[in-house]
Amino acid sequence: MSIAIALAGNPNAGKTTLFNELTGARQQVGNYPGVTVEKKQGTCVSEAGTFEIIDLPGTYSLTAYSLEEVVARDYLVNEKPAMVVNIVDASNLERNLYLSVQFMEMGIPVCLALNMMDVAQKRGIEIDVDKLSALLGIPVIPMVARTGKGKNELLAQVVKGIDKPAAPLLISYGQDIDKALDEMEKIITANQFLTDIYPARWVGLKYFENDAQILELGADRDKETAGKLMDIGEKLHRHMSATLDTHPEGMIADQRYGFINSVLKQNVIRFAHDRNRLQRSDQIDKVLTNRFLGPLIMVGVLAALYQFTFTYSALPVGWVEGLFSWISGVTDAALPDGLLKSMIISGIIDGVGGVMGFVPLIMFMFLGISFIEDSGYLARMAFMLDRVFRIFGLHGSSVMAFIISGGIAGGCAVPGVMAARTLKSPRERLATLLTVPFMNCGAKLPVYALLVAAFFPGKQATIMVILTLISWVGALLVAKLLRSTVIRGEATPFVMELPPYRFPTLKGLWIHTWERTWQYMKKAGTVILGISILIWAMMTFPGLDDKTKAQFESRRTAITDTAPAEVLTEIETADKDAELSPEAREVTSALAGIDGQESLTRLENSFAGRIGKTLEKVSYLAGFDWRTNIALVGGFAAKEVVVSTLGTAYSLGDVDPESTDSLGERLAKSPGWGPVTAFALMIFTIFYAPCFVTVVCISRETGSWKWAAFSVGFNTALAFALSVLTYQVGSLIVN
């Protein structure tokens, strides 16, 4: 029988390190039911026994204000783990104990894992462990989670402490509150008000703290009792603000710290130096957050992260792409031509391959971000940039997601959306998630390259700078718009710890990176596969009727029949790369022309083609004809598909997105195309619906399809409005 224990503690106290140390690779990551808070579970097999360990979200407190804290609290009361292992940072004991006190108030069996004893010692902090344990009345085990020191003692202590019921800790919150609490406790016990779940006094405390979750639960259960408690709470609130110029909620927090202070003051902790003395970490900060050097270094770090993610991942991305094109080639050779082959190659292999191609990118990105986050630098970035991002209703930490998504042209919104996980404030996070797809990801670049080469020759750099600026300004303004409308609400308080710089552990980095990547890969095999097949079907069906097919076939036969026999033999026997005679080349290009026209007709007739034709009725306002429309519909699969679909739509057959010279020339000569149309199309490409992989990620990260649908609808509407504006105003100026 395994023993269930919950790991809890402040962020940066070493909770994840201890969890990794205890469970190794035996972890499962999921979500708590109904919310997007990550739930990590693992098994620990040791001499002391087998343990089932839950890693609760890192929190500073147990209020109802944040989802993480509610989740942690609910888990403890509903699942009743045998023991809470509360990991506390010995070098930052006073603040860490604030959470411990709240566990003890709830009457939950808790044991303290006093982590980072080595760091504390180095800083001249001496802790009397036995005395601390005696004064708090709970076991305290000194340890160093990074090296695993103290791990076995901790587990042995957990086994020893099981089945010893813990009584809720009673501390004095001052005369006024204590008296009112006594009164409440009587009412609560007499009416058995929520006492099946929580200790009576704790419920009273929550009424003073205006805890939304408990107030709601209470009103649901027993309106009358809840009303009485509310009255007592309000009376006390009025009394305290009149006589003491304070309020119960503030007083309770003050008194918790007062209790901690009274414990520590009894010679539990001794400082060899002034504890606010500058540590090495603060000296590093003098440079890294310096008014002038800080921003410069930050630009360097972001550039390095970018370089690391996108340059070094190019090689493995190439392997994955090579693997899939090999599979595709083998399938091509093995299967007879037809719908099944087309679906397997264009729908399944290209679709899944396209998604798997992102895997190395995501791994590198998470490795880089985990390093920046775990080392403590991310908090400094948020600190330096917060003033700027706050103007737009975002948070300093939003910068990472924007950069990864293509804030420096060439990123990718898929890892960008996932990078928004580092944001802890829910509204700011949502606004970030929804605006990062406006950045210029790597897949939009071939579209720009094509259009710039054809319509703005020699101005590549200027146009790229303009497009980058437009995407940033657009994203920030949309963020502001969202934060003042659909995601309206007060800014989440910034109050944030700047943790000491630490060198991340390799094991931690690896586990972190791998679990995120694995989650993404699982998604690729399910939802993304389905959507990929759907897009393929839209561009394939209903296909050509037999009569049209026969027409193309007869045109082909007409050419092969009239060609001299030796030319046909030459074409059949020639190597792929061999130079053909001029006569033979004429024949092959004539045949390719007919093939191109056939795929154009097929595309025109497909569902996507019909959508494109229908949309032409409105899209002409932005200067887009039905061919462009189909290409943009195809771009929902992946933005670079815009280029290859345009190729088909202009009957060039397959066009390699990497070499688009001929397509560019063709576009430049086509009627209806000009610099204004091209620019309007680029504007549309920046802002319209994210590719479906990003959409799937948005739905996953926000926990609802609603926001994913919103990003498709809203972004496309916005893109259309902006491109119409560009086209109409541009046409006026040019003409």
Binding site: T63, A253, N276, T289, F292, A379, F383, V495, E497
Partner: protein
């Protein structure tokens, strides 16, 4: 000895918190991090755009936006 607002404190200045006026979520977040009356704080620095502010309390570093610091009164020398 004068009581001033945390926003007005200078770099490296030390003081004792006398009161925290914020209520609700902001009040709770501030207090959870140990900003309660009686604690000593030292201003460690400000971000390049002068906001937020970084301060030292109970041996660790905490950052606050200026509009959050407005709720905190500090007694300084």
């Amino acid at each position: 000895m004068t009581v001033i607002n945390l926003r007005q404190m200078k770099r490296n200045q030390t003081g004792i918190i006398t009161s925290v006026k914020a209520q609700g979520e902001m009040g709770r977040r501030i207090r959870d991090m140990g900003i309660v009356p009686g604690k000593e704080i030292t201003i460690q620095g400000r971000a390049p755009l002068y906001d937020p502010v970084a301060l030292r309390i109970m041996g660790f570093t905490l950052t606050l936006r200026n509009n959050e610091a407005d709720y905190i009164q500090v007694e300084v020398e």
